[in-house]
Structure formats: C-alpha cells, structure tokens
Symmetry: C2
Subunit: 246 residues, 2 copies
DNA sequence: GCCTTCCCTTGACCCAGATCAAGTCGATGA
DNA sequence: TCATCGACTTGATCTGGGTCAAGGGAAGGC
C-alpha cells in the first residue's frame, strides 16, 4: 500500500480526537489543520520512515501500532518507543528522522505536511500546549523504561511488558472484566526482545515460565489471559501500579 | 545549607540565560518570572526532592549537577537523567515529584513557585515553546540512553558515558584542546553504575581496562585525559558522533 | 497434498557481569 | 602520628541470560 488513502474520515468521528495532538484545538484551528492533513496507511511490517531520511510530514497514529527503533552498525537494535493510537510521530523543527519507524500491525496515520504544521504551531498555542503535555508523558514513559532495561531481570521485564499492554488494552476496550484480563500480544517475540533488551529465546523461555507458574494463561502464541493482575504486577517488581506507557 | 540564598545574581549576568527555559523571553516576561523566582543552593549529596513529595517549585540548574533516580522496593536503583546547568527540573501540571532528585555536586538552582509558573506558562507562549524544545531534547537523550542500557556491553557503556561527559565539557569550557580532551568525572563510581545499569565493581574494572588499553589516561580517580576522542567513540560503539545528552 | 516460510519453543553450553570478599589510597580529624 | 572513613580497586567464584543448534506448528502458495 503505502498510498495516500481516502478513508472518508473527518475529524468529527475521529477515534483519537480527544487524545491526539489536536485535542485542544477549536473549530478554527481544526480547519487550518484539516487543510494540510492527509491519511496514509501501512501494512504490518512496512517501514514508515528510515532513520536519517528527510521527514516530509509529522502525524498521529489513528489505529494500529508503530515502533521506534535504533540500530547500531553491527546490527544490534533497541526499540525506544511504541506509538499507539493518538501518539504523535515526528519532531517539529527537525528535518530528518532520528529513528526507524516501522508498522508493527496494520497502521493508519493522520499526517500533516511538516513545514505548514510548524508554522501553525508557532501561530496557535493549542497544538503546542498539547504537544508539550504529550512529550512530557513520553519522557516519563521513557524513564520508566530505563529502569526496566537497566535493573530488571528477564522475568520482571516480560511481566512489565505484559502489564503495560494489558493495562492499555483495558483502558481502551472499556471491557473491564472484573479482574481477569484478556488481550492479544501485538508484538512478535523478536519485537518484545528488541523492546526489552533481551534475545528472543529468553523472551520465549520467560513467557513459558510465567505460563508454567500460572501467572498467565496462553491460547496459541499470542492470546493472553491474566487471571490475577496484582500477581503480574508483583512479578514485574512494580510497587502498586507504576509503569505507564506513552 | 538548603537555604534560600541571595546570590546577588540577576538575569542579566546569569550564566544560563541563553539556554534555560527563559531563553526566549522578552524583557516583560523576564520581569514576570523575576517576581516569582528565588535561588536555592544544595551541597553535594543533598536531596533536592524525594519521589512522591509535593512539588512546590520548578526550576533551572544554574551550576552543578543533579541526578534523577528511580528506586524499586528492594533497593535497586536506576538513574534516569542528569540535570546539567540550564536543564529544567519539574513538570508543570503535576504536583508531586516522580523521581528522587539529588545534588551530585554542589548545586545552585533558580526556582519558580509552581502555581504562578504554570499560570505564566499558559499566558505567555515563549516559556512553553522553549520548554517544549528542551523536553524534546531530553526525550531524544532518554532514548539514546535506552540503547546504551539495553544493548551495549559494560565497556561500551563506560566509553559512552565518558564520551558524553567529555563532549559536554568541551562545549562548555570553550577550551577545545586540538584533539586531546581533559575533564574531571563529576560522578562517583557508584553513580556511574546507577546510570549505566551496572555494579560499581564492573565500572571500576572497565575503567581500569580502558586505562590499561590506552583509551584514557587517569590521574587520581577522577581526572581523565582522552588522547584520541575518535578512539573513545569507537569503543562506545557509536557511529561517528551520536549520543547527545540532555 | 505437500512444500516453504515464518514464528516460536526447547535443550546444551558458555561467558560477561554480578556477587562476595579483601584489600589500597587519600583525606579528615583527634 | 595514627585511627577512621569513604571512595575505589582487584581477585575468586557464581549465575542469568546469551549463543548455537535442533526442532515444532500453523499459514500460505503451488
């Protein structure tokens, strides 16, 4: 695909209008944004932009998941962020991408041409205000993740990731099933390993171990049930409920 | 100390006026900031604020270094940020601290009462604009650090940290000595370990190894000379010159 | 139906870095 | 002058997670 698509979608019925970078905009500002916006969709596995490439647009994830990764010359890679629906991609004021951005699932993005977007940001405060909030949240998430990467064991890392994905899913799918939590993993074992600073073999082994110990129940390779969420948090080494995600 | 101090210092001769959160402000805005500002100094080792404490002020580091650390219940700690001169502490809109902030060296901060600062931020765009820029830089630095924590070896981690400290020092102390770089480590071995996700013994061993291999020259325990900066970057696993810091 | 491919699991072995344990060095103070 | 203390170094040993290797199982193509 990688085509500009017409989704017959406007801002009115946009699923992320309350959380995206445009959430604070008034009708007039939305109109200005509308003039420079277009939708693009990507298939799972497709690269949205390569690190170092010129960045012609910035934008919001409407649906699906994208990952930000950094790569060393010798091929070691570390995922440094996950873009979930409503998250913003791109840095105003910078004209080349700092990370590889890859669609982890099928992905739809609401894009803005970069130059006009920057201009608009300087002229109207609401976009910049919201972007500051979102960036501060991302910074907190990144710092939370530094603790995971630097100090947690492999088992704790896996439990932390499951807790984050589970919590996010619970907040989106209003379905709060008493205390049994059910979700599908949106990442391959390899992507999880890249996120957690582990190898895919270790990820697989630790998931098997958590399953064996009854912390999680697996159906197939991706469908997860967490019978006792507090138990999962204990395994993650988190006090009470720390650990938000972008 | 921990006292409010009068440093007979105004904004005119402030050493960080070109890089701090107030860098974009005009005379009028500076005056408004001046009305809610005060200086505080802390001795090396003193805690500026504990995670979870109510945050009465936000502010900029004028001189010295502070560290942000996260701690798990069992005592494992991870440093998640270093605040260098001109860096901003505190999150507008949040009323309790998310991390322990500790003065790593003697420290002077230019503080603003939080509530009036937030109000001012909503009314004037220049502070918010600058804060957004700074937050985006910090986010990049945090992500850079995630690669270090997740994928680098102990030796590469040490080399990365030395490169960062050295580069910062070079940019402050205009003294760019051809290509021999000289600086003092502002961190103990333990603080380095906390930053790098290592133990202090491993830090000590790797520093000894880099010294033995001629990558660095040590005088005493803190004074470092880097005869060949490119060599250090190679040891850090960085391509060319990546790895900024906050 | 069968073959390929991708994703995942499991086992055997190894090593980088953690842990445990003694020191060394230099500053401070009695 | 000597004791103390904090910062650091170095050695011996252990172990969690990496590496290498061999498969399994489900989906898609021919």
């Amino acid at each position: 695909m990688n085509e500009i698509v017409n989704l017959s979608m406007g801002c009115d019925n946009c699923p992320i209008k309350h959380r995206a970078v445009c959430a604070r905009c008034d009708a007039d500002e939305l109109e200005q944004l509308d003039a420079i916006k277009f939708y693009r969709s990507f298939e799972a596995g497709q690269t949205v932009i390569w690190s170092g490439d010129r960045m012609e647009f910035v934008g919001s994830v409407v649906s699906g998941i994208a990952s930000l990764t950094q790569t060393m010359e010798d091929g070691r890679t570390q995922m440094v962020g996950l873009l979930l629906p409503s998250d913003f991609m791109g840095r105003p004021g910078r004209d080349s991408a700092s990370y590889d951005v890859v669609a982890t699932t099928d992905l739809v993005m609401c894009c803005f041409r970069r130059k006009p977007f920057e201009k608009l940001m300087n002229e109207t405060p609401h976009v910049a205000q919201r972007l500051l909030e979102m960036t501060l949240d991302e910074l907190d998430a990144a710092r939370e993740w530094m603790l995971v990467l630097g100090r947690k064991t492999a088992r704790e890392k896996i439990a932390s990731l499951l807790a984050i994905i589970g919590r996010r899913d619970a907040s989106l799918n209003l379905g709060r099933t008493a205390d049994a939590m059910v979700f599908d993993l949106p990442l391959t074992r390899e992507a999880m390993a890249d996120y957690l600073g582990l190898t895919l073999e270790t990820v697989s082994r630790q998931i098997s171990a958590l399953k064996r110990d009854g912390v999680i129940v697996l159906e197939g390779k991706r469908h997860v049930t967490v019978p006792n969420f507090q138990r999962l948090l204990d395994e993650a080494g988190d006090d009470s409920d720390g650990g938000m995600m972008a």
